[in-house]
C-alpha cells in the first residue's frame, strides 16, 4: 500500500463518478461546499468537476489561510522585518502575496533577507545558525499547521533561543464555517469537510453543522477517489434526508483528533477575542495568539507592530465568492483587474484560492468551447 496510487486508480474513480451520476437527482441542483482550499486545488488538479453531473456544483470555501489573511497583517510582518538585522521566514505560499508595498519576494529584491521554509522548525534552525540576526517566522495556517508552530515555540523557549520570534496568524476553521452558515444569502446543501485539519481536531467539532444546521458533512481525504467517495456519501445522506458527520478519511483521521497536538496548541496559544478575515470581516474567537509565557518569542509583544489596516477594494467581491453566493467568474474584477499575476482580491492570491484555481484551470477551458477530446 502506498496510500496514493490506490486512490488515483482510474477504474475506481470512474466507478465512484458513475455512482454519483446515479445518485444525483436530475430534478435537483446540488450545492456542496468543500471547506478546504486543498480540496479546491485537488478538484482542479485532477479535473474532477468534469466527472460530475452538471447539476452538482462545488462551492469553494474559506479554508485557504493565505486567502483569508488581511493585507494589513502582511504589511505588519514586512514592516517588522524591515528593521536591520532581520530575517523574514515564511512558507513558500506567502512569497507572492502582495502587501501594500509589494510581496515578500519583491521585498527580497529590494534587499530584505527573506527565506522560504518548509517547516516552522526550519525557521528556528535558521535562527540557531545566525545568532547575530533575528528570525521572524510569519506563521499562517489552520489547526493542521498550528501545532507545528506551537512545538517550535516550545523548543525555542526550552533552548532559550534569543533571536527567534513568531508573528502569529493562525486561524481556526469552525468559526469561519459558522460565519458562512450565518450569512443570510447562503444556500448550501452539504459540506466536504477538511481532512487534514481534522487529523488534529477530529470529527466532533463538526457535529453542530449536522445537528443544528441540518447539513450533511463528510470529512474527506484529498485523492480523487476520496473526494468522489465523499460526494457519494453526501448524496446518500441527502437522498435519505439525513444529516450527520461521516468520516470518509478514516485511514488518517481519528474521530477524536490528535490529543498531543491539541494539548501543545492549548499550552502555547489562546483564542483571540476577534480576528479579521479577508472577505469575511471580523469573526470572534476565530484565531490564535501566543500566550503570555511565550511573550519573548511573540513578535507582536516583542516589537512595536504598526497595526496596519487595509480595506480591500470595494469592487472586489471576495466575501460573496467565499460564501458561495457568487461564482469566481461572476465577480466584476475576475480575470480583468484581478488575475493571479496581479491579484486584487484575496482569493486570487494563493494557487488554492478559489479564484486563482478557477482562473488557472477552468476559466480558459470554459472560454474555449467545443473541446476536441483526445483519442
Amino acid at each position: 500500500m502506498k496510500y496514493v496510487d490506490e486512490f488515483r486508480d482510474p477504474e475506481t474513480i470512474e466507478a465512484a463518478a458513475r455512482e454519483i451520476r446515479r445518485l444525483a437527482d436530475p430534478s435537483r441542483h446540488y450545492r456542496i461546499m468543500e471547506v478546504c482550499g486543498g480540496h479546491t486545488h485537488a478538484i482542479y488538479r485532477f479535473g474532477l468537476q468534469d466527472l460530475l453531473p452538471e447539476n452538482l456544483e462545488l462551492i469553494h470555501g474559506p479554508g485557504c489561510p493565505v486567502c483569508v489573511l488581511p493585507m494589513g497583517r502582511i504589511d505588519d510582518g514586512l514592516e517588522l522585518a524591515r528593521q536591520p538585522g532581520m530575517i523574514f521566514a515564511a512558507f513558500g505560499d506567502m512569497m507572492r502575496v502582495p502587501g501594500t508595498r509589494g510581496t515578500p519576494l519583491e521585498h527580497q529584491a529590494r534587499g530584505m533577507d527573506v527565506r522560504i521554509v518548509y517547516s516552522p522548525a526550519d525557521a528556528l534552525e535558521i535562527a540557531r545558525k545566525n545568532p547575530d540576526k533575528h528570525v521572524l517566522f510569519f506563521a499562517i495556517g489552520f489547526e493542521t499547521t498550528a501545532p507545528s508552530t506551537a512545538l517550535t515555540l516550545k523548543r525555542a523557549r526550552a533552548e532559550n533561543v534569543p533571536n527567534f520570534s513568531v508573528f502569529c496568524n493562525h486561524v481556526t476553521i469552525i468559526p469561519a464555517i459558522r460565519a458562512i452558515l450565518d450569512s443570510p444569502d447562503m444556500r448550501l446543501d452539504a459540506f466536504i469537510g477538511p481532512g487534514h485539519v481534522s487529523t488534529v481536531i477530529g470529527c466532533r467539532p463538526y457535529e453542530w453543522i449536522a445537528e443544528n444546521e441540518g447539513k450533511p458533512i463528510a470529512v474527506s481525504g484529498f485523492e480523487p477517489a476520496d473526494i468522489l467517495q465523499s460526494i457519494v456519501m453526501l448524496l446518500g445522506q441527502l437522498e435519505r434526508g439525513e444529516s450527520k458527520v461521516e468520516n470518509q478519511y478514516r485511514r488518517v483521521v481519528p474521530r477524536e483528533g490528535n490529543r498531543a497536538a491539541l494539548q501543545v496548541m492549548a499550552e502555547v496559544f489562546e483564542l483571540r477575542p476577534y480576528f479579521e478575515w479577508r472577505g469575511l470581516g471580523f469573526i470572534s474567537q476565530s484565531a490564535l495568539r501566543i500566550r503570555g509565557e511565550y511573550a519573548r518569542w511573540d513578535a507582536e509583544k516583542r516589537f512595536d507592530v504598526p497595526g496596519v489596516r487595509v480595506t480591500d477594494p470595494r469592487a472586489a467581491q471576495c466575501g460573496e465568492v467565499l460564501k458561495g453566493v457568487l461564482r469566481p467568474a461572476q465577480c466584476k474584477l475576475f480575470g480583468k483587474e484581478c488575475t493571479p499575476e496581479q491579484p486584487v482580491g484575496a482569493l486570487m492570491v494563493s494557487a488554492e484560492g478559489s479564484c486563482a484555481a478557477y482562473y488557472n484551470y477552468e476559466h480558459r477551458k470554459r472560454a474555449a468551447r467545443n473541446l476536441v477530446s483526445l483519442r
Partner: protein
C-alpha cells in the same frame, strides 16, 4: 506619449519598476521583460527574435546563433555542474533550432576569492562536455568582480551551428493532428538543484539530466525530418512553459495525456511533498518535438534508438481548442489547463 522626433521611439511596454527574480525564471514575467523591453529596443525586425536560436545568413551560408547565461547554486550537483550546463544549454538551443552545434565562445564572470581549484574543475567540465558534444570552444573572455558582487562564478556561452538539411521548424507550421513527442522523464534537473541547495532538507537518488540532445535531434531529422514542425528544450519554466509558448505562437491548443508524461518517482515524490507540478520543473537534457502524425511513429522510433532516448514518449496532440492554451487530460477523463509558470516554482504547504 507620441514622439515627434525624426525617429519613432520604440514602444517599451515593460512597466515594472524593478527587476525581480521572476523576470529570470523563464515564465510569464520573463516573457513580459523580453517582449516588452528587449525586443522593441534591440530586435531586428527581419528576424523572429524569440526562438531558441537566431538564423543568420553570412556569404550564402545559413547559420544558427544563440547565447545563454548560466547562474546556478550550488555550482556542482548530482549529475553535473555549471561547466557542463554552460555547454549543454547552448548546444541544446542550437539543436532544437535544427542546427548542428559547431563552435562556442564563452565568457566568465568570476568573484574575487574564488578558489582556482573550483574554476579549474568547471573549465575541465566544459572541455569534456564540449568534446563529447562535438563542439569546439574557440574563444572566451574573463572578468573578475569584487568579492561579494557575484555568487562565485557565472558563465555565458554563445554558440554557432549549421542547420541540418531537410529540417524546417516554425511554430506557425504546427497543425491540428500533429503529435507531441517528449524525449524522456521531466523534472530531474530542477528537482536535483532544489535538493542540492539543502534548504528543504530533502534527499533522493536523483541526478540532473544535463546532456546534449543533439544526437536525438539528428536521429529525428534523419528519420522524419520533413515531418518535424517545431522543437524546444524545456528548461526553466518546464514543459508547461515551453508548450504554452508554442500554443500561443501557433494559436492552436496543446492537449496532453497526463499518464503518458514520464516522471521519475523521486521527482514525483518531491513534487508531492512540496506541492509542485512536474510540468513546471526545469530540464537540461530533454527536448519536445511536434511532428506531423504521418511521421510520428518513425520519429519516436528514431529517438528511442539513440542511447539515452529510450524513454521517449508520445505525450499528446495539437488540437484546434483550447486555442493558445495547454490542456492536460487526467487518467480519469477530467482535464485541466496548465499555464505558464509565474516566477520560480515555490514549495507550498497549503
Amino acid at each position: 506619449m507620441s514622439g515627434t522626433a525624426a525617429e519613432t521611439p520604440p514602444a517599451v511596454r515593460f512597466r515594472e519598476a524593478r527587476i525581480e527574480m521572476a523576470h529570470g525564471a523563464g515564465g510569464k514575467a520573463t516573457r513580459r521583460l523580453v517582449e516588452g523591453l528587449f525586443v522593441p529596443l534591440l530586435s531586428d525586425a527581419s528576424a523572429p527574435p524569440l526562438g531558441d536560436a537566431a538564423s543568420l545568413e553570412l556569404d550564402g551560408a545559413r547559420l544558427a546563433v544563440t547565447t545563454d547565461g548560466f547562474v546556478v547554486t550550488p555550482l556542482r550537483f548530482a549529475g553535473g555542474s555549471i561547466g557542463e550546463l554552460a555547454i549543454h544549454g547552448t548546444v541544446n538551443d542550437l539543436a532544437v533550432a535544427g542546427a548542428r552545434p559547431e563552435v562556442i565562445v564563452a565568457g566568465w564572470v568570476l568573484e574575487a576569492g574564488l578558489e582556482t581549484e573550483v574554476l579549474e574543475a568547471e573549465v575541465r567540465a566544459m572541455g569534456r562536455a564540449a568534446r563529447q558534444a562535438g563542439v569546439r570552444v574557440v574563444g572566451g573572455d574573463t572578468k573578475v568582480v569584487d568579492h561579494g558582487k557575484a555568487d562565485r562564478m557565472y558563465v555565458t556561452t554563445t554558440g554557432i551551428g549549421r542547420f541540418l538539411p531537410g529540417l524546417e521548424t516554425d511554430p506557425h507550421s504546427v497543425r491540428p493532428g500533429d503529435r507531441i513527442i517528449l524525449s524522456g522523464p521531466i523534472g530531474d534537473h530542477g528537482i536535483t538543484i532544489l535538493l542540492a541547495r539543502g534548504e528543504l532538507d530533502l534527499e533522493a537518488d536523483l541526478r540532473s539530466d544535463t546532456r546534449s540532445v543533439f544526437p536525438m535531434v539528428e536521429a529525428l531529422a534523419q528519420a522524419a525530418g520533413p515531418a518535424v514542425r517545431w522543437m524546444r528544450d524545456p528548461t526553466r519554466g518546464g514543459l508547461a512553459t515551453a508548450l504554452n509558448e508554442l500554443a500561443r505562437d501557433c494559436r492552436q491548443g496543446i492537449q496532453l495525456q497526463e499518464q503518458e508524461i514520464p516522471v521519475r518517482d523521486a521527482v514525483r515524490g518531491s513534487c508531492e511533498l512540496l506541492g509542485l507540478d512536474p510540468l513546471h520543473i526545469a530540464n537540461e537534457g530533454q527536448f519536445v518535438a511536434v511532428v506531423a502524425a504521418s511521421g510520428a511513429a518513425a520519429a519516436l522510433e528514431a529517438i528511442r534508438g539513440v542511447p539515452g532516448g529510450e524513454e521517449a514518449r508520445l505525450i499528446g496532440e495539437v488540437c484546434p481548442e483550447p486555442a493558445g492554451s495547454v490542456l492536460v487530460t487526467t487518467p480519469y477523463g477530467g482535464s485541466r489547463i496548465v499555464d505558464m509558470l509565474v516566477g520560480d516554482p515555490l514549495p507550498r504547504i497549503c
